[in-house]
Amino acid sequence: MEKKTNRWGWAFLIVASAMIMIFSFYPMFSALIMSFKTGSSANMKWATPWYNNYLRMFKDKTFITSLKNTFLYLIIQVPVMLVLAILLAQLLNNPNLKCRGLFRTCIFLPCAISLVSYSLIFRTLFYDTGMINTILMKLGIIHENIKWLGQTGTARAVIITALIWRWTGYNMVFYLAGLQNLDYQVYEAAQIDGANGWKTFWHITVPQLRPVIIMTFIMSINGTLQLYDESVNLTNGGPAGTTMTMSHHIYNTAFQGKANFGYAAALSFVVFILVAILAAINLKVGDTRD
């Protein structure tokens, strides 16, 4: 009887497990093999030397730029977004606040639209003569239109702004869920003891949310390393490839112009290793602070 039930258990989970093996683990493994080859689909040969694709990266200017961009977005966007999200969650967790549902809905709303959609909206907003420039001109802040998407610095800033806009509410929802178990009276007690807003933020909210913060950090790093939709649709990697992300470069290498599956696979393996390393560091840092 026991044995029979156990067999049923395996039967239930076998389809999903097999699909993950076939459509995630196996392709990952073939990507590794592919990364030692060169050429595309039908005519792939072993590279000489076999690690040639990995050497080639160091001379690939676009790849190095995309790597730098990714880390720039990571260092600026992720912390700003997460701090803002925790702050919003703390404010919205106050039971005395009115219209909490309305504020929550508004801030969460950007998550309802696709990455392609918001990229295109921001592209239109920051168009040379577009909305943002028009407003700034009318307010007298600028006297001629800024080419937001035509210069490397401002184009990167627009991408970072757009990312913060899209994902802050998403992360806030995690923190709100994490704060649910916290008795709000703790804050009131702290206030009576004379702790100000920042003190309660750092000494009550942040410790309470630590496991959630680690998780959102890992998710954000993972997401940033795989940025694609924004790079393609907001700036199209421009100007001159200076805002391109790694995934965008990999897609172009594999599927546009002179397709090279082998080299693209090697690049994608770098993304995989970076995701793994950064997640491991994050978990480690999260552990030792206990």
């Binding site: 039930t5 156990n6 258990g9 395996w10 039967a11 989970l13 389809v15 999903a16 497990s17 699909m19 993950i20 459509f23 995630s24 392709p27 990952m28 073939s30 689909s41 404010l91 106050n94 606040l97 504020f103 809905t105 508004c106 801030i107 969460f108 709303l109 950007p110 309802a112 639209i113 696709s114 990455l115 392609v116 959609s117 918001y118 295109l120 909206i121 239109t124 003569t129 577009g130 909305m131 806009w165 929802v173 995690f174 959630v212 993972n222 694609y228 939709d229 393609v232 649709n233 995934s247 990999i250 594999a254 599927f255 693209a264 696979a265 994608s268 393996f269 993304v271 995989f272 995701v275």
Partner: protein
């Protein structure tokens, strides 16, 4: 106004500013969809009278548009619906198996499957493309959904939410002579309704919004989904911004409606596996 509310004034100001910033780009998209491209590109902030023309541009498809609005909408709906149904069935079965029939061996397998969460889509994209092209599944619904039907996230979500499932109920059902699979369909599924709702919302939205993999696998113009369609609108040398924003509006409408009706389930879905 009492003292408590007065102390909250800075909070209100901050929250109002954040809310306006969050909503404004969407409001702008809505107004831009009703304006001629000239007005949009010059930052006109109010509704115009050009919606019919913008809509028509999407229906006809200018020469450089690869596909048309209705075909893209239909594809998006069909693909997302099929993916949602299959993904829910397969992942909930697995979550059920892993949690309620758990043995050491299954726990080890679960641990291995979780590692797939670390695998970036961009890394598996090229071998998957070769695989789909060998299996002649390019530009088909199967090519679109197969890689994302079974996800560790969904399995984990069902597994975590099965934690409080009453085992006594299963024993009672067995005594009544129900088979294990009947327990799943007749008892587990109805009890887990709210988990299914959250999982359905999140899966549908993810499928609807997917871009990188569809761009790889859906090569034929008539197989394109909404995100591919609107991204194409912005590809020409001269962009019709009014029509573009109308396209973005159509692409966003279904997910925004789902968001407003099922916001709680959506929030549960994204935080689903964290409990």
């Amino acid at each position: 106004m009492d003292a408590i509310q007065r102390r909250l004034i800075p909070s209100y100001i901050f929250l109002i500013i954040c809310s306006i910033i969050s909503v404004f780009p969407l409001f702008w998209m809505l107004t831009a969809a009703t304006n001629a491209t000239v007005d949009v590109s010059q930052g006109r902030l109010w509704f115009g009278a050009f919606s019919a023309e913008n809509f028509k541009a999407l229906l006809d498809g200018a020469p450089f548009f690869q596909s048309k609005l209705w075909s893209a909408m239909r594809n998006s709906f069909v693909f997302a619906a099929v993916q949602t149904v299959l993904s829910l069935l397969i992942c909930s079965l697995a979550g059920y198996g892993f949690e309620l029939y758990h043995t050491k061996g299954k726990d080890i397998l679960f641990g291995i499957l979780l590692m797939a969460m670390m695998i970036p889509g961009v890394a598996t994209m090229i071998p998957l493309f070769s695989m789909m092209s060998k299996m002649k599944l390019l530009s088909s619904v199967w090519g679109f959904i197969l890689p994302s039907v079974a996800t560790p996230f969904m399995i984990m979500m069902f597994r975590q939410n099965s934690r409080n499932f009453p085992l006594a109920l299963m024993d009672a059902a067995r005594i009544d002579g129900l088979q294990e699979w009947q327990i799943f369909f007749k008892i587990y599924m109805p009890i887990m309704k709210s988990t299914y709702a959250a999982a359905a919302v999140i899966t549908f939205m993810n499928a609807w919004n997917a871009y990188l993999w569809p761009r790889v696998v859906l090569k034929a113009p008539e197989a394109q989904t909404m995100p591919l369609f609107i991204a194409n609108l912005a590809n020409g040398y001269t962009i019709d911004y009014g029509a573009l924003m109308m396209g973005v509006l159509f692409c966003s409408l279904p997910t925004v409606i789902i968001f407003f009706i099922l916001q709680k389930q959506f929030a549960e879905g994204i935080t689903g596996a964290v409990k």
